[in-house]
Subunit: 253 residues, 2 copies
DNA sequence: TCTACTGGATGACGCTACGTCAACCGCAAG
DNA sequence: CTTGCGGTTGACGTAGCGTCATCCAGTAGA
């Protein structure tokens, strides 16, 4: 008692293409072929197909299903792995859903996805109130959106580059080079690029960079980053960055 | 102020292949090319890249991201759709996880994934106790596993074919054909195949089919399905199916 | 007997978002 | 002149089929 492709198709709801695919990859061979190469499946094949479809509905990849059916791997093991896999997927989706919700809420408040401020690298949560006072609520929220959107890797890289920069500044400060020296200007360029890597409007005007640099002197919390080897460190960094901005940046795009 | 591929790569954590891919599909063109075709990105491009990566982390497909960035579709709309999409995925994964758990538990109790009984089509939950009494707990649980593994479409098809069969039986019974008539035997063949579509061991022995057919008479709940047009309907179906089994089925594989 | 129709068959390409070679190229240092 | 860096352009592979385009065998109707 054998069944034709059409019969199997209408009984199981899969397509003939699927049957041929399973034949091609060796997952389910027809029990016999009739004239013209027509595929026919006997009960043995149908049982195998049922198992395939059952495991497929559980989300197992066909390769794993094949391994289970060939007895090369335990069904329990495969399903436990699948459970782990599903768990990871679930967590990822949950995280994405939260981010999507947050971003939608941010957008509804009339914000753009692009904007950002330049504070995140120092300490994101610690200075939020400060950001709010100086640049308004919008800036703080935009900042959050950007920072959250960066992802863990992005945040780590951003922080890492900041630390590397601080080390580089410490070094040129310790070497008593002038702020306009080549070594200091090289670090200044890196610093500006680092700022630019999180600067979210099209053009980063010279005045913005110079204003930020000025803050490194005016705000002791930022200054603290650059006075580790010398009290004059903050002024050094400020001068170096402002000089670089004067030399290489423009006010208008 | 432009950045090379290498700089963009190390700043964002994406690969150069990704940048070239985005170039190919027109999602992010480099702002300029230098000798040898080297790609360079200015701030405008980097801003765009930041938005791309943000939306990518939310799980949006690149095509949707492109549409948003080109202003062809609203960002809020796109994210709301994405939220729906994630919700559907979440539900699917949750369902799969439950099924995987159930199947693992069934397997731990020493059961095979394959087995099944022939009751599901009539009423799956209603007769569970009955199945348990006649065939033991194992059979009932295997039955659940199989039934659950079928999926909603599979269950609907299984039910639909049963209803079609019942209608076909009603018709031949009403036409006063003999159980051995060609018309009745045609329906019997369909009936046996329907049984076989859910029969999960390799061979369906003649005696099993005949036993099931006998139940259509002995068990009034099954009989009720075939006595809608005539009180003799159940006996008719039983005789027809048993005759078919005698003619076309074997005891051993 | 010719023809249309059924119910398939076999390629082959398409889809997502890149990873992963292989082969090559321009420029700079040794 | 060669080596190395930092890239470039193809081109194929991934999972699981969907979707053509083309062809073919057997059957029923004219």
């Amino acid at each position: 008692m054998e069944w034709s492709t059409h019969e199997v198709v209408s009984a199981t709801g899969i397509t003939s293409r699927t049957l041929r695919h399973y034949d091609q990859i060796g997952l389910l061979k027809p029990s016999s072929l009739s004239a013209g190469g027509l595929r026919h499946y006997n009960q043995l094949a149908l049982v195998r197909l049922q198992r395939i479809l059952l495991l497929r509905e559980l989300g197992l990849p066909l390769a794993d299903i094949a391994a289970v059916l060939e007895g090369q791997s335990s069904d329990i093991t495969a399903l436990q792995q699948q459970r782990q896999h599903l768990l990871r997927q679930k967590e990822r989706i949950d995280a994405q859903m939260r981010s999507v919700e947050d971003t939608i809420n941010a957008l509804r408040k009339g914000e753009t996805i692009m904007p950002k401020t330049m504070f995140e690298g120092f300490d994101h949560s610690q200075y939020e109130d400060e950001v709010r006072q100086r640049w308004g609520d919008d800036a703080a929220q935009r900042s959050n959106t950007w920072w959250d959107g960066l992802g863990e890797q992005g945040r780590q890289r951003f922080q890492q580059e900041l630390e590397d920069l601080n080390d580089a500044w410490d070094q040129v400060i310790a070497e008593c080079e002038a702020p306009v020296s080549e070594a200091a200007q090289d670090v200044a360029e890196r610093h500006v690029r680092w700022l630019g890597s999180s600067w979210q409007t099209a053009h980063m005007p010279r005045s913005a960079v110079k204003g930020i640099a000025q803050m490194y002197v005016d705000d002791e919390r930022f200054a603290a980053n650059y006075t580790r080897v010398s009290p004059a460190g903050a002024q050094f960094v400020c001068t170096a960055v402002q000089h670089y901005a004067d030399q290489h940046l423009t006010e208008e795009p």
